[in-house]
């Protein structure tokens, strides 16, 4: 699938920037031709992913890298400090975020390498419109 472009956004790890992440995501989802149901899903997923990473990266920045393709968006969030798996399996908040992201996105995974996590998600348009 041909890439349409790459957009990278670095924000302070603070919840108040979730809106910035959400607005950017909405614009990019519209750009790849998603309908408003999918645009809303992308907004919810990006906010959930950003807040997830921001909780671990307190005092630092969080980078969101969007890869745009016709009718789909891939987002990689991070790297951010670990504790994603293992301990977090006991954390209802994180597990709920996992659950939401799994429900909304077509692909979702978190990789943990040397204590640094990358959260990756893919959302494809149900209908290119």
């Amino acid at each position: 699938m041909t890439a349409l472009g790459h957009v990278s956004l670095t924000l302070p790890a603070s919840r108040e920037y979730a809106r910035t992440a959400r607005l950017t995501a909405a614009e990019l989802a519209t750009r790849v031709g998603m309908d408003i149901d999918d645009v809303d899903d992308v907004k919810l997923a990006v906010e959930e992913a950003f807040v997830y990473a921001a909780q671990c990266a307190e005092g630092h920045d969080v980078t969101l890298a969007f890869e745009l393709s016709p009718s789909s968006i891939e987002l990689v969030v991070g790297p951010f400090p670990g504790m994603c798996e293992g301990e977090s399996r006991k954390d209802a908040g994180r597990l709920f975020a996992h659950f939401i992201l799994e429900s909304i996105c077509d692909e979702f995974d978190i990789s943990d390498r040397d204590g640094q996590c990358l959260l990756r998600l893919v959302k494809r348009a149900e209908c290119a419109g």
Binding site: R19, R22, L23, A26, E27, T30, G33, M34, D35, I36, D37, V39, D40, K43, L44, E47, E48, V51, Q55, C56, E58, M83, R89, K90, D91, A92, G93, R94, L95, F96, A97, H98, F99, I100, S103, I104, E126, C127, G129
Partner: protein, 261 residues
Amino acid sequence: MKEAGRVTSRRLVWDKALTAKLFSAYHARGDQDARDELAKMYLNLVKFLASRFRNRGEPIDDLVQVGTIGLPKAIDLFDPERGWEFTTYATPTILGEIKRYFRDKGWAMKVPRRLQELSFKASHAIDALTQRLQRTPTVPEIAAYLEVTPDDVLEALETSEAYNFVPLETDHNADGSDSFSIIDCVGKDDRLLSMVDDRTTLSSALKKLSPREQHVLYLRFFEGLTQTEIAKMLAISQMQVSRLLRRTLQVLRDNLEPEAC
């Protein structure tokens, strides 16, 4: 009958003698005509108080209607023997109704009127286009329908997040029952609960959601319905579903947040 309540150049005035006579007739003899006459007389007070909220993005007629709910309450409870002016007594009651309306159905933050109007128009456009196209519209399609730019539509959709639509009186299921517990439903397949060691935390967080919020959450994330499908099922707009979902996730996030990272 002469006009009992009227607006002068600067203030409202009412016929005090007539007011006292009507209250006497209503309270002493239960004269419903006197009560109706009082309600008619003091409608101007409601209009005046509603007009103070003119620039808050709600139609003035709706505010008058809401404020009018407070008027009969004030008439019923007012005691002329205490020596107060009826307007002094009724004003907090009427204002209370209008403020409650804003609290339940108002904008959570100050939003420019242009965006409020565009947000409402976008909501109607989504419904109209969904019907016309037989599918969920895209942002450019909504923009073309409203003759605005896609950026305007995105801004309007984001603005709608600030609108606190909580339809308390319609917080029930399609079958008319008035409760919905997500725990009861997810308990059947245990997809979510099996992931969570601390079930009590999750259960108590979910209980902070209204039945409608739990229902929307369930339909979207457990049943996999789209927002448009949920909107159709619950007879609300797609934008209302969007707002409910976002608020729901915020509430859950706030209540599930770990104490330390």
